[in-house]
């Protein structure tokens, strides 16, 4: 089965002066995959993600996202992806409905579609009564779930999630991952980074970056076999322990 | 005591490692002084004038030459038709017109009196008035030169002098005002932002949970800015003296002493403002924007306070810069001694005490 490749990158590099933030990484992500992109702080994850989101130019190497070139077609990339991070999700002083309408409009969803889809979204999350409530008043877990729904509102091919479940309680985290499973089943590719190693297990495949390079790329089961580890925590620990960049 | 010293040293580190703020702190006053001094002057120079000389005689020519010789006017053209004059005004090519009637010279020599018409652009009344004054002065001077014994009996010719400013140096008005404005804005803004920054970064929280006394925080924040503002003030004075050729008539020592007092007043105000907000942006807005308008309007250097209705005059008394402006004018421009400004000094000192006390009392020993 040849699945369509929604992300490809080959020898992708980003350097700042002499410092190689991302050092010749290569991997592919297939359509509908849940791809975990792991690594310690400073390993180069964020830099790599920014390139794939069309926010930054690589220094060398090739990459395509949703079929678009990261050098020449950054705007097309941005139109075809969704993005959500822990640091920013929605506007706290706008209501739920206002946020949905705003982001829908930004991504070019027609007004008619926005109406139907937002009703659908609110129903699925059980928030019909709270549509006019300010997002700032919601508990963190709900904000994150709502933010994810908004990120896929315009039915992008790929959605990038940057530590989406940070600090959230265990139950909400799992509800969040239920939503991720649902999205993946409908054909949206998920590119997610996380600090929770048990969440790494939910992914189809994982890559672990250390010091700017991809040091592991496989399914969780295979990685555990490869490193003789009981869980992903141990795999990660073994890899990250040898990193030189954690002290700098 | 050692705590205080260490804290002050830390504050100096912060200040010197923040290049951008240093730039604003020293750059802004310098730029303002130079701008106000050179660019903004209410003097008139090179006003364009159109002349319609219908007389074309010796006298009219003499008067025209005299006007040309002054640096106030640039003669743009000589026309004969009244409609050309009108057109020149409409096109905004000139600021004024001077029209000699046909028999100007004759009237003057034979009848002892003649008329000229001065037309100015009234849509800019201040400039228009100045132009009228200049022209009138030149004309009067011409008449006196040509006809010294011209007996216009009992005519009292006013002799005009501008005390303390014989040359009519326009920038003199602004320098004390700008000093007051700059010191007020910069000192207040920088001090309050520095304190609020600690709140925003979270380090204030750590400081609170320590034996460190709150009053020491306030003092140590104020000291570096006191020193820097002092240097800043010196810079402003030097600029004024050497670039703008302003003469300091009074005691330099007294000038610096009073300015130090004013700086402390402003720092106290900054400390007080820092208690009201936890966001650097808000602190900056309050200090720069919130204080700027009142300071510019109510200090009295842009618009005379005497012209304002009395409620405004009462409000202006609250502003420290208003009192400092009086003091600076007295010492710097008039050369007066302490005897003449003790009242204003007392007001400033009183304000400082009140501000400091309130700032201390309102200093939050908890986060909420």
């Amino acid at each position: 089965m040849t699945a369509e490749k929604v992300i490809t990158c080959k020898d992708l590099t980003k350097k700042f002066g002499d410092f190689y933030a991302v050092n010749r990484i290569s991997f592919d992500v297939a359509r509908g995959e849940i791809f975990g992109f792991l690594g310690a702080n400073g390993a180069g994850k964020t830099t790599a993600m920014r390139i794939l989101c069309g926010l930054s130019y690589p220094s060398s190497g090739e990459a395509t996202v949703a079929g678009f070139n990261v050098y020449k077609q950054q705007e097309s990339i941005k139109k075809n992806i969704g993005y959500m991070s822990q640091k920013f999700s929605l506007y706290e002083d706008l209501s739920i409905l206002e946020n949905i309408t705003f982001f829908g409009g930004v991504y070019g969803v027609s007004r008619k579609e926005i109406k139907t889809r937002s009703q659908d979204l609110l129903e699925r999350l059980g928030l019909q009564q709270q549509a006019k409530k300010m997002v700032g008043e919601l508990p963190l877990g709900w904000k994150q779930k709502l933010a994810f729904s908004v990120a896929i509102f315009h039915r992008p091919k790929i959605v990038f999630l940057d530590e989406p479940t940070g600090g959230v309680d265990p139950v909400t985290r799992r509800q969040f991952w239920d939503m991720i499973y649902g999205a993946a089943a409908s054909g949206i590719t998920i590119f997610v980074t996380t600090h929770y190693m048990d969440e790494a297990e939910y992914c189809n495949r994982i890559s672990i970056m250390v010091d700017g390079r991809v040091e592991a790329l496989d399914t969780p089961a295979n990685l555990k076999k490869q490193f003789s580890a009981a869980d992903m925590n141990e795999v990660f620990y073994q890899l990250a322990r040898g990193a030189r960049r954690s002290g700098e | 005591m050692q705590q205080l010293f260490v804290f002050i040293r830390k504050e100096f580190y912060h200040v010197f490692r923040d290049r951008r703020t240093l730039l604003v702190m020293f750059g802004l006053p310098a730029v303002q002084i130079l701008l106000f001094g050179f660019a903004m002057t209410s003097e008139m120079k090179n006003a364009r004038m159109v002349i319609s000389d219908n007389a074309r005689d010796v006298q009219s020519q003499q008067l025209i030459n005299k006007i040309k010789a002054s640096s106030y006017f640039t003669i743009s053209e000589a026309v004969t038709d009244y409609r050309d004059v009108e057109r020149a005004f409409k096109k905004d090519e000139v600021k004024c017109a001077l029209i000699f009637p046909a028999g100007f010279g004759n009237d003057l020599l034979n009848g002892g009196r003649a008329q000229v018409q001065i037309i100015t652009d009234g849509s800019d009344p201040n400039t228009a008035k100045t132009i009228i004054n200049y022209l009138t002065a030149i004309i009067t001077e011409y008449r006196q030169q040509q006809f010294p014994a011209a007996a216009l009996p009992y005519k009292i010719t006013p002799e005009i002098r501008m005390l303390y400013n014989e040359e009519g140096n326009g920038s003199l008005n602004f320098i004390p005002g700008v000093m007051a404005l700059i010191l007020m804005l910069v000192c207040t803004a920088l001090t309050s932002v520095s304190i609020v920054k600690e709140k925003e970064m979270g380090t204030m929280e750590v400081l609170l949970v320590s034996p460190f006394k709150p009053v020491l925080v306030l003092i140590s924040k104020a000291v570096p800015y006191l020193v820097l503002s002092f240097i800043n003030f010196t810079l402003i004075v030097l600029l004024s003296v050497f670039a703008l050729h302003v003469e300091i008539k009074g005691s330099i020592f007294l000038l610096f002493l009073e300015s130090t007092l004013f700086i402390i007043t402003c720092l106290s105000l900054g400390l007080l403002i820092s208690n009201t907000t936890s966001s650097q942006q808000t602190a900056l807005l309050i200090c720069m924007m919130g204080l700027m308008m009142p300071t510019m309007v109510f200090t009295g250097f842009m618009f005379p306070l005497e012209n304002m209705p009395w409620p405004f005059r009462v409000i202006s008394n609250i502003l420290p810069s208003r009192w400092y402006y009086i003091i600076i004018k007295a010492v710097m421009l008039k050369g007066l001694g302490f005897k003449y400004i003790w009242k204003e000094t007392l007001v400033l000192a009183g304000m400082t005490l009140v501000l400091l006390t309130i700032a201390l009392k309102k200093f939050k020993i908890r986060l909420q």
Binding site: N41, G42, P139, G166, D169, N233, G247, E248 | V206, P211
Partner: protein, 316 residues
Amino acid sequence: MASVTVQHISKTYNAGTVLAVDDISFEVQQGELFGLIGPDGAGKTSLFRILTTVLLADKGNASVAGYDVVKDYRAIRKCVGYMPGKFSLYQDLTIEENLEFFATVFGTTLKANYDLIKDIYDQIEPFKNRRAGKLSGGMKQKLALCCALIHKPEVLLLDEPTTGVDAVSRKEFWDMLKRLKQQGITILVSTPYMDEANLCERIALIQNGRILSVDTPPNIVKAYPVNLYAVKAAEIYRLLTDLRNNPQIESCYAFGEFLHITIRDKDREGEKILKDIIAAGGHRDIVIKKITPTIEDSFIRLMNQPGAGVSGLAIP
């Protein structure tokens, strides 16, 4: 002797509309390594701020090292070491300058208490002239800990010291805490990471401003009321849906590569029931086993009980 006591503390914000801390009570013994485990918004930071005296509670009493948090706040501020969230240090001062500053603030010097922080400081000493703003998360964490320890406090209050830090540094940090405990310092730590709960002597699980449970980690796990099973199959997502739709299953949620299941009918043999259900669904590579619950399992179960103050969060 209790080092920290909390009695019926409540705290609201925004004129009473936000209930951050809801009638919390617990104690920390002297020299204990105590963990406050809960997600963001649970009330951990508010509680810490009340204990360090920078916030006033609406109701209740608390004391630290024997001093009341309201009346004797000055005494508390002299004898605790506090590390607020997000490492509050001076970004533009170097490591050494930060340390010396905080040492002087507490009326001591770097040299006087050097052996206390030696283990930790040795790791960052090579970078002592680097500005704090340019350090990695792990190093900032170590520096912040040194600054909190520099005056040999009786009680150490650390608010989410491991959040946002990589896994390796987190582990090192907890090793450092264990060594500190041996010096007799009482340590109260908060963290959202459930797996760190096992590294504490006693823990309090906190959610939505309420305490769910206070005990040693083993005891909390022992108190899990039913049997817990872990299952796995080739198609995990389909298995999840199958099980959730089955009326015999009480709860089913993902946990790493397994699903954790509890069964409604507590008397019958769980493994057999599961075997039947899963086989009926035509799954392959089936693994079923009974397991000891983790703290996270306990947290989830406690969260979903009535009275836990969990609003609008139904079990999926």
